[in-house]
Structure formats: C-alpha cells, structure tokens
Amino acid sequence: MNAAQELWWKQAKADLELFEHLRGRPGWRYPCHSLQALQMASEKIAKASFRAAAQAPTQRSHLGLTKLLRRLSTVREADQPLVTRVFSVDYFERFENLLFRVRAIARDVERLPPAIAGPNRVNLEYPWPDHAPTSTPAAWEFDVWKRLEIAEGREFLRFLSRAVDGFPQYAHVFR
C-alpha cells in the first residue's frame, strides 16, 4: 500500500465506523446520515484502489464502488487466491459471483450523493425536486436502507467491511 492509498483507506475506515456507529445507535432517526457515511466509505475505498496508479485520477473523478468491483474482477491470476481469501470465498469464480450479487446495492449507494443524483432525484442531502421541493432526505424512506436489512444488504455490508478492513492486504494488487 503506498502513502496515498493509505490516506484514502484511513478515511474509508473512519467513514465506515461512522456508518456503523449511526446505524447501531438507538433512536437514531435519520437514515440519510447513515447512508451518507456508507456512501463515503464506499467511494473512498474505491478511490484508494485507484491511487495505486502512477497517474492517479483527479480527486473529483467519479470513482464509486462499482468501479472497484470491475477492478477486482480483473486482478491478475497470481493475486486471485489472496483476494478470495480476503473476501472469504473458496475460489475466484465464486468471488465473481459475489461481485455480481453486491453490485445492485453498490450502484444504488453510489447514486445517492446530490452531485450524482442531480437536482431532481432522491439524494442524501438536499430537498428535491430543486425547483419546487416536495421531499427531503431527513424524512425519506430510502429503499436501499430497507434492503440493508435483508440478506442482499447484509451480504453487501459484509463485502464492504472486508473491502475496507482487508485493504492493506490486497492494496498492492492494483499496481
């Protein structure tokens, strides 16, 4: 793991801890804030992976978790056993299936920031639609929030947790 990767990874880890803190907090009523922490953790671990390159993308580049999934699907053969171990699967084909299963939630989380969702769609920060708001994140029942409670969502959270916690073990595979 190079120095830049380490900085992005530390921030991802802090964001994921914030998500877990808010999610487990009794009486916390605002999924928008919990989801914001989850989205930030996802984005930053993806960016950490891209910081392996000599020519790293700009900070504003849109690099969400779905791009990390694509990267993980193309790690070189020699690194596949390591990656499967970090993500607790038996062999790479199963890992590919895991990537496929977590992708839908990864995509939905990736689309939640207002900069991606745009001014007139469900997002984590601002009332919408922009010209005549009818909804606000603090009072919105996010579909993806409910899905985190079912098997699909739990698998996604396990995946993200392993992606973040295990990053120092596999960060070098993106070189």
Binding site: A56, K67, L69, R71, S73, T74, R103, G118
Partner: protein, 115 residues
C-alpha cells in the same frame, strides 16, 4: 525491467468480458485500438446506469502490472447511451487522439463485432 510479449487484443477481450460479467449496468464495451500506445487499452463503456453526466470525458486509468514485463494501462471512459450516440454523431468529441476508427464492440451476449 524485462519486457515480454503483450497481446493487447487478447487482454482487451478479457477485460471487456469481465467488466460485462460483473457489472450489468454496462450495455457495451467499445474497444478503441486506433492511436493507442502498444501497451494501452482504451475503452468506452456504455453505462445504462449512469444518470445525467457532464460532458467532460476523462479517462480513468486502471494501471496494471506496473513495474513488470507485462506493464500496461487500461483507460476507461464511462458514457451514457445518449452520450455515446452523440460521440457517434460527432457532436461530442472524444479526448485527444481517441477515435472510433476501427472500434470493436463487445456486448452482453459476448458477441464481438466491428463497429
């Protein structure tokens, strides 16, 4: 660093196949070999899941095997289907020397075709 033979077209086929396999939002991968360096693979990925995107088409570098004999660079630009139509209609320019000339399209049915 010793270099070894690098089969760019085979690698491009593998990357396209994997990206289409794990990301069902990608409708097609367009491989653009013309003007690319010997160890550079350029892709446009037509991403139906992308919401409205601005028109700053910035390639993202997936550097691979850096510092080894197999070193190469995969450069990917995600575009919406509407942006791709504009690129094809020459109303949205590709960056630098990127061009659709001799493009090869990989679709979800694992078909490969010349554009």
């Amino acid at each position: 660093m010793s270099t070894v033979a690098f089969d760019r077209d085979s690698m491009a086929t593998w990357y396209a196949t994997q990206h289409l396999k794990v990301d069902e939002g990608i409708a097609e991968v367009v491989y653009l070999p013309t003007n690319a360096g010997e160890r550079e693979i350029r892709f446009l990925e037509i991403n139906a899941d992308m919401l409205d995107a601005d028109d700053s088409l910035e390639p993202v570098s997936y550097g691979v095997d850096m510092g080894t004999g197999m070193e190469h660079e995969l450069l990917v630009i995600d575009v919406t289907p509407a942006q791709y139509e504009r690129i094809r209609g020459n109303t949205l320019p590709l960056p630098g020397t990127w061009t659709l000339a001799s493009a090869v399209v990989f679709d979800r049915d694992s078909r490969r075709r010349e554009r």
